[in-house]
Symmetry: D2
Subunit: 358 residues, 4 copies
């Protein structure tokens, strides 16, 4: 099923942009975890439109309610349903789009698959769908921290050609220090300026998000198909606009020889570590105790204000120019989505970790 | 579960390098498909060690038997079990490895996870595990071709810095025209020379494999978590040594603006196509009828003949030099694995394609 | 996961008695099905407490909202989220139960499993959990009728020793003709009288529900583990208070010989039928085109108004008498639950029906 | 998928009667469990045809090989593949059946579903399919005993009207004391006599198998859909010829009132127990620490030696008389199948048992 993710910590998201609401049901969260609506809201606020001058100026409050699974601030072990009601957003902006397919959006493919598309805003292909992921990810992050001391930190590494200099793993505070969520302050300023000028031109930008997960013990993950990096790759490519994933050395690693690339082990009889981390903390699909590191590529936002060639629902040629208020660059708001998806994968594998017989 | 892949066309692989055999059970293959043991063997022969001077010189015949699910050359609709018996391969080459963990292999992580590791050759982390995938992939490719006219073609695009010039989708014959499986004959010769010289140095190489799937109709794939590119990403990152995946424009797409990147639609009332294919044939997770295109990065082989720092099973420092016959570059043999995994994802989504109510 | 059911038509239910609300997310419903909130409400009204003098007198309106997946009365192919908000029901009736485990309820087992139990009313073990099932079942029944002409009809066959005489498959109208949902009017009157007298005594009753599904074509279901009758058995035993299931001749069939039990086939070159239906419409786990018939046993309601021996949360002996308003016999309200679960199994298998290659 | 069972301890069975072999792949068995081929063979020997005068006289050795997942008598944590090669059994007995559908077999339904049927012996609907289940069940039983001290014991409770008197849980030795596997020696002798006389008449018999699982701690199982009794019901109804399941008091419980039926709890501050066990050890779908008890109904064997009305593959009327050597009563050989399926459900839920956050 397309809207269900995870095995042991399984989420089921729902909702279109213009229906009554969007949300998620989490099945498999252990009982007795302390979790508050404010902790979930804090992650949603990082995802919220209108949060700064470089995101879409649509104002959406996105206030979350806990419908079930939590009582007196503690999880019951039962499904946790989280709901964000939609404000009425239907507007003339979308009328033209009903009859025409926006280039590089999901309009055409949804229409081919389902024979119908939601009235506007992309339906399930809307970024609004990620509200359920981010809300569930807040619970996952709390559980990872509480039970295993694991922390996930993502940041904007690159916007178009502006590449940040980041050593080690930044803190969440460093990431949140500016509106573009890049812990290199100089790069951040250039990114913000570029995003603003691109927005004025009615064009859009892509870039790269980096993510580190620290504190993951050796032994999480599965061999063969459900390798930790395979699951992370799926999680990231399932985000809107994500077109690439690399773990550890990734594509750059193809330029090294084995002598350069291999990560030497060192140990002291109780601990084992590697002296470099081209493996990105994962070997044979299983965590080795080093930080898990990966990067993902996001394409430039498909909605632009220029007229473009496209087709209508009758497969006839036409043109269309984007209208409305859109993100000129999705990356700042994608950071909490990457955090959420990484946490969902890790908590699932933590709970799946296989018992031994001895 | 780690050794089960797919929903509607579900495979379950089994086997270690040094157990009795390796294989796969396919559950969900439609009945009445004509399939012969020779068609499956042909794909295994492309994966087989010792097939050329640039692969490992180990001789393994890897003859496949059909145990069930096929009668008189036709599928019954019941589980198809495929088995390749192992020859006895246990050798002194592996003795030292039992006590020491090979750098950038799965030895350490398996030992941490399971408290035991298979006696040699990597257990389930061995490339031998992929026999089951390639055998199942042969059935998947046959079904894709027969029912929908879909063809999958992978090739070696890059070995270290040697990048092939390939226009459009090569034929399977062009890929098989040389032992490195690169359809650019000049680049192929350079790749072969580099692999041979690197092997003599006891070192190893990585690179990039490209894959195209043609003939996929619009409408395959799922929105949200099981997007077609998310499933392909997982499939590829689940292959041994794969560390990166990109769909369509991938990482390079982050250097474009939306105006450059968007794929304009054109139509004639019956057909719809795009005038460029940065989307890689997938929009919103669903195929749009254009060729599906992706690339994956493979790291240099971890086994090298140089002495390296590592730890033993007691977590004490030691050194280890690889022995035995290994692939200096996995890419030529990884081509049929990429074909297989891509076909398994596509056939699964073909069978999952959702019925409409009208 | 415990709160997810189905493969192709997958539902995820949520909600406790005393949280904010209860509901369900349906993933996999085909697009373009016409469905209204009234059609869903009609099934919920059959399940609603306080509907007659022989059910609990608690008044719950259970008004359903469609949160997503439906637009202008038509399904979009995306997840359908259905929500019923709870009224505040917390009452003194449950205070004593917080410290004591009710006999033959799930209080003790939940407390052992989760280390916590919902404040009252049984949490997920409450009959209120079935709201999500019945709401999803309404959609499943609509789809079965629309695409395949399949109808599901359940009725109260027996209350304690009062056994109804029912020939063939009654209509839904015949079932709804009286408040106990038994199409044998004489038996129904006796059942109602017995339930009323038992309620006055503060005791409770069990019984048997019969179900027929008509119009199912030959070929639905799966061999081996997911046999149609195995899936129906799981579905029924997952209902609160259900302790038994039998398909076709069931337990009575053990008293026949093979000669008596076998269902002879007859045909006319285009149609095939059997002259009796001990198989209950299922052979080898797959439908044979005859009506699918099964029965399920429901134990007497665990909540009674008499003082009973039990233990408290400290595992010390104590006594407890039920309070509040409860159903003296769950069967009349269980009828729509059986309809819902049967429809969910059938629609799932309809959508799973395996494609052939010819 | 139809041939995959379980979530955490997942098995995938394969094989037809007349293909090369039958077997199973187990995914999710914890590492470091000691298991020998002899332990698996012992369970298969209990299932084997030709084991006594009251089973089919076909001689099948059914020798099992371990293909993977076990090394030096210890599990590796990787998939365990178990294979039994078929002897050539194709015989003239089945020729007539190729063109005709046997009444109350799966011939007609398989043919409708798949458009083809295996050449003889029932394909996947053959009892031979259960070899994989029994082999996997042997591993499950070993693990249950080793890690949790849980034992599963099934026996023949009833053959037609002959009902055994069995108090408490018999030992495996008491069950194996006679060829019918009924621990009441007097009843066993009557059952054997009835089976023999029925076989001579060319007719067949059904009956009831009882099963107890002892040592299961409180807290196994899941609320809502995956209730322990729902999973057991599915497991049993998935066995060939099983048509009914009841947990604890089952159908008889519908004749009691709540006062009679409720199981009073008693405790001493550390342990909790009930003074009767109508719940069958399961409340709200979760084990309560009492013995788990259930019963299943098996219909009389469909193959009889009398001429019966049926249809051919062209849906024309004809007649058919069974030939060959068949079990006149499946129950003695079904006992190890019930043991296996019960163990597979229990071990799956043991491994799924949800972690708490405190």
């Amino acid at each position: 099923m397309s809207s269900v993710f995870g095995e042991a910590f399984r989420i089921s998201t729902f909702g279109e942009s213009h229906g009554a609401g969007v949300g998620v049901v989490i099945d498999g969260c252990p009982s007795l975890l302390e979790i508050s609506v404010d902790e979930i809201q804090a992650e949603l606020d990082r995802r919220r439109p209108g949060q700064s001058k470089i995101t879409t100026q649509r104002k959406e409050e996105d206030k979350v309610q806990i419908l079930s699974g939590v009582q007196d601030g503690v999880t019951l072990g039962t499904p946790i349903a989280l709901l964000v009601m939609n404000k009425d957003q239907r507007s003339r902006d979308y009328d033209e789009m009903q009859a025409k397919h926006r280039p590089s959006h999901a309009d055409f493919t949804y229409h081919e698959k389902y024979g119908i598309k939601a009235s506007s805003g992309g339906g399930r292909a809307s970024a609004r769908e990620t509200i359920g992921r981010v809300a569930a990810g807040a619970v996952a992050q709390k559980l990872l921290k509480h039970l295993w001391g694991v922390e996930v930190t993502s940041w904007v590494q690159q916007v178009k050609e502006i590449d940040a200099a980041v050593a080690g793993t930044p803190t969440r505070e460093q990431v949140e220090a500016n509106i573009v969520r890049c812990p290199d302050q100089d790069a951040a300023e250039q990114m913000i300026a570029l995003i603003e000028s691109t927005r004025k031109e009615g064009d859009s930008l892509g870039g790269i998000i980096s993510c580190h997960a620290t504190g993951v013990p050796a032994g999480w993950g599965e061999p063969v198909f459900d390798k930790l990096e395979a699951e992370l790759a799926k999680a990231m490519l399932s985000l809107p606009a994500c077109k690439g994933f690399e773990s550890g050395s990734g594509f750059a690693g193809t330029q090294m020889t084995g002598r350069e690339h291999n990560d030497p082990f060192r140990g002291d009889g109780t601990e084992v570590w590697t002296t470099q981390n081209n493996s990105g903390g994962i070997q044979g699909g299983i965590s080795n105790g080093m930080p898990i590191t990966f990067r993902c590529a996001f394409k430039p936002t498909a909605t632009i204000l220029h007229e473009q060639d496209t087709v209508d629902v009758d497969k006839q040629n036409t043109t269309l120019a984007g209208k409305g208020r859109h993100d000129p660059c999705v990356l700042p708001r994608a950071v909490p989505m990457v955090d959420a998806m990484a946490a969902l994968v890790l908590v699932d594998h933590a709970l799946r970790s296989q018992r031994r017989s001895n």
